[in-house]
């Protein structure tokens, strides 16, 4: 094995909220190596790299650079020790030129003034050295995303980086730009820079990396030579269920269509399609799961369905009426309930009481009013106490601020409101993320029970494979803003198969999905 330039030994990272992001992770990379770090979202790749780059502390473990143990206090320290990082979200200044961005912090000076010519010259020199085709005088805002990424790489190189971390560099690139990036990475490798390549695009990993380290749920699944692996094997190492969860449920008896999504499209502020022609229907009495690697349009779809954002074209029909142009309130009145992805941002008002949060959607309804004008406080208090009991929210009482509760109990407040709002369409986006097992089980069972007993239709968006596979009846997979696979029975899909569709190794044709959307 080539000489080791970096070794991370026994890294353990626990976030203040108790989430263990990395658990005794050990891996090393050699000189002149492109080393892949793969894993699902939330597997701990980014955390591990943030520790290496000095952006996060770790509880245990040590870092060795060129065989010498180093403590990395902050990103500046990391840069000084030869580590450079290209973030997923660029740290660029769009209104400035390429040269200004690249030399910021290490500006060349002449006669006490910023020497722009020298900045351009230095930038161009280093760009030419590694064969980066980029104009040092161009304004960053006029560049394509691919070129912006080159600027980020140049920023690291000009400060003398010998270990370069690329966090999902190809996620934002076109195929041609990806090719170009790979050429440059080979150049860098050959001139002595070690590259850590974070990705979940397996074909890319197989093509350019010599070694792969796989993370799953914060644990290291080992480091392998890519020549000993194939995409299916990596996918199996990456995607897996630790504990297999079973939910007993009868077969669904879908009745009339409640939610119809027709050729829905939405663009982001860069004009890129984030929802790209999605079509599917959800019927009364069934749960439709949406799986996918995060960032493939699920959040955007959820925002559109909840009425939090507009869409460009297509249509969404809820209970026979289009939701186009309706306010969130109007959509809720048409029968939508929404368990938001981030409960603290959209699910609850943290500083307000449990009662206020549970009743937030119904204060204005007629049957909670007295004399047609005033809120019926007694009735509200009585119902809140009943819901606290029904949903087993452990708290001091209805007046306690929601922020004081544990994550699981906060989510119980959310579902106590959403499950009892009388809606026949439930949109559940990551309903059990980061909460205790007991509450998660209650939420999942309630979703299934409501669909069977009350005939609600549910769209369940989740990154938790257990959850989508076990709770859902039908299962759809989203990738790059499109539905790429559809399965009639979620609990008969194996996680390996699912992983292959999520990661883009396979894709179904519209004919194969016909009748399943």
């Amino acid at each position: 094995m080539a000489e080791e330039v970096l070794r991370m030994q026994g890294i353990t990272k626990i976030y203040p909220n108790g989430f263990m992001a990395n658990k005794d992770v050990t891996f090393g990379i050699g000189a002149n190596e492109i080393h892949a770090l793969v894993g699902e979202n939330g597997a701990g790749k980014t955390t591990l790299m943030k520790i290496l780059f000095g952006m996060e502390d770790c509880q245990q473990g040590s870092i060795f650079i060129n065989g010498k143990e180093e403590r990395i206090a902050n990103p500046l320290d990391a840069i000084a020790k030869g580590v450079g990082m290209v973030h997923q979200h660029f740290m660029l200044l769009p209104s400035l030129s390429v040269a200004e961005n690249v030399t910021l912090g290490v500006e060349p000076m002449k006669n006490g003034l910023f020497d722009y010519e020298a900045a351009v010259k230095n930038t161009q020199e280093i760009a030419d050295k590694y064969n980066f085709k980029v104009d040092a005088t161009a304004k960053v805002s006029t560049l394509s995303v691919g070129q912006m990424q080159k600027v980020e790489i140049l920023k690291a190189l000009i400060k003398g980086a010998k270990i370069l971390i690329l966090d999902e560099p190809t996620a934002v690139l076109t195929p041609q730009e990806t090719e170009e990036l790979f050429e440059q990475l080979f150049n860098l490798r050959d001139s002595g820079v070690s590259v850590i390549f974070i990705s979940h695009k397996l074909e890319e990993v197989m093509r350019i990396c010599s070694k792969v380290t796989v993370l799953r749920h914060g644990e290291c699944m080992g480091t392998y030579d890519t020549k000993d692996l194939d995409e299916t094997k990596i996918s199996r190492l990456m995607v897996g269920r630790d504990v297999v969860l079973k939910i007993e449920k009868e077969d669904p008896k879908p009745k009339e269509a409640i939610l119809e999504i027709r050729n829905l499209k939405r663009f982001n502020s860069f004009g890129k399609a984030v929802i790209d022609g999605v079509t599917f229907t959800v019927h009364s009495g069934e749960v439709v799961g949406i799986a996918g690697v995060e960032g493939n349009g699920q959040s955007e779809l959820s925002e559109v369905l909840a009425g939090l954002s507009d869409f460009a074209s297509g249509d969404v029909i809820l209970n026979g009426k289009s939701i186009k142009g309706l306010s969130v309130r109007q959509i809720r009145d048409k029968g939508m309930a929404y368990i938001a992805e981030d409960r603290m941002v959209e699910g609850v008002a943290g500083d307000m009481s449990i009662e206020m949060n549970i009743m937030a959607d119904r204060f204005s309804k007629k049957n909670y009013k007295k004399n047609g004008m005033f809120v019926d406080a007694r009735k509200i208090r009585k119902e809140t106490q009943q819901l606290i009991k029904d949903f087993e929210i452990s708290c001091d009482g209805p007046e306690q601020p929601v922020r004081m509760l544990s994550g699981g109990n906060i989510q119980k407040v959310v579902v106590a409101r959403e499950f009892t709002s009388g809606a026949n369409f439930i949109l559940a986006n990551q309903p059990t993320r980061g909460i205790d097992v007991g509450t998660a089980e209650m939420i999942r069972k309630t979703i299934v029970r409501k669909s069977r007993e009350e005939g609600t239709c549910t769209v369940l968006i989740s990154a938790d494979l257990n959850e989508v596979l076990e709770c859902s009846d039908r299962l759809l997979v989203m990738r790059k803003g499109k539905v790429v696979a559809a399965f009639p029975k979620a609990n008969e899909v194996s996680e390996d198969t699912l992983g292959e569709y999520m990661l883009g190794i396979r894709e179904m044709t519209p004919e194969q999905m016909e009748g399943l959307l």
Partner: protein
């Protein structure tokens, strides 16, 4: 009714001078990412500082220096509260402006026993007007451009200075980087706090000049609440020009013209004075709404999948 166009334009330039300084002051902190409403109060304090300095030290230039110094000190007070004390910038600025409104009257009363103006108690000093050779002999243009206050010409130079500072010096580059993306700046080792102080210092310099112009050139005394919203107008001028020094100056000139228009019409017509005095502020609101609609529409077009 007859309007002397030449006099109107000359007046417009004069009225624009304090606005240009105010806009540059606001621009300096905006470039570092801070929307500094305190400019209004800083200008007011400087106006009082200038006449007080001139009176007690007995000279125009001492007055100018005191005006600038007051601007810088008040700027640093806000900077300290916001950057070191981590207070909310908007609340700090509102509190500061209110304190400045009352505080200037209080200090004036302590020094002169007057509550509305220093004109009787303090000796008047006026910053000289400058006749520019050659230019002054050109018909029309000479009457418009020559014979303005020295500070008006300094305002023109300041626009260039700010442009040069931002574009050609290291500190300018760093100010812009902090304003655009503090995280990116911090990630390459730039101290966001230090840059914040520097930008407030420069902001104080221009606020000081704006106040000095008002109390030593526009008139030659300090009076209660004499800034009258010019700080806010300067703030919106640089906002509309998107932080460009030259653009801010041009927008300020436009606002100067509306102020001048109001003054001219006051003497020429029997329109209600109160309505005419509203013109500069109304023009500001209309201009802000138009620029904002334009940028929102542009964003919306992209999200709808257009070009």
């Amino acid at each position: 009714m007859s309007i002397d166009i030449v006099a109107f334009l000359a007046d417009a330039i004069k009225m624009a001078t304090p606005l240009v300084f105010a806009a540059l002051a606001a621009l300096m902190t905006r470039q570092a990412g801070m929307f500094n409403m305190g400019v209004e109060g800083m200008i007011l304090c400087s106006a009082l500082g200038a006449v007080t300095g001139a009176h007690y030290l007995g000279g125009v230039w001492a007055g100018v220096l005191c005006g600038i110094l007051t601007g810088v000190v008040t700027g640093l007070i806000i900077a300290f509260a916001h950057l070191t004390g981590k207070t909310d910038l908007y609340l700090t600025c509102i509190a500061f402006n209110l304190a400045a409104t009352g505080g200037t009257v209080f200090i004036m009363y302590l020094l002169t026993g007057e509550k509305s103006t220093t004109s009787g108690a303090f000796r008047s000093y006026q910053i000289p007007n400058i006749n520019i050779p050659i230019l002054k002999d050109i018909p029309v243009l000479g009457r418009i451009l020559s014979g303005q206050s020295l500070l008006t010409y300094i305002a023109v130079l300041s626009v260039w200075f700010v442009w040069f500072l931002l574009k050609r010096t290291r500190v300018g580059l760093r100010i812009r980087s902090v304003g655009e993306n503090p995280k990116a700046a911090e990630s390459v080792g730039i101290s966001v706090t230090k840059i914040g102080y520097i930008s407030f210092l420069l902001c104080g310099l221009f606020a000081g000049l704006s106040g000095t112009f008002l109390s030593m050139s526009w008139v030659t005394f300090f009076m209660k609440n004499m800034v009258n919203g010019r700080g806010y107008i300067g703030l919106s001028a640089q906002n509309m020009a998107n932080g460009s020094p030259i653009g801010s100056a041009l927008v300020s000139l436009l606002f100067g013209a509306t102020t001048s228009l109001a003054t001219t019409m006051k003497s020429q017509s029997n329109f209600p004075t109160e309505f005419l005095e509203m013109i500069p502020y109304l023009a500001t609101i209309i201009a802000i709404v138009i620029t904002s609609i334009y940028s929102i529409n542009k964003k919306r077009r992209i999200e709808r999948g257009g070009k």
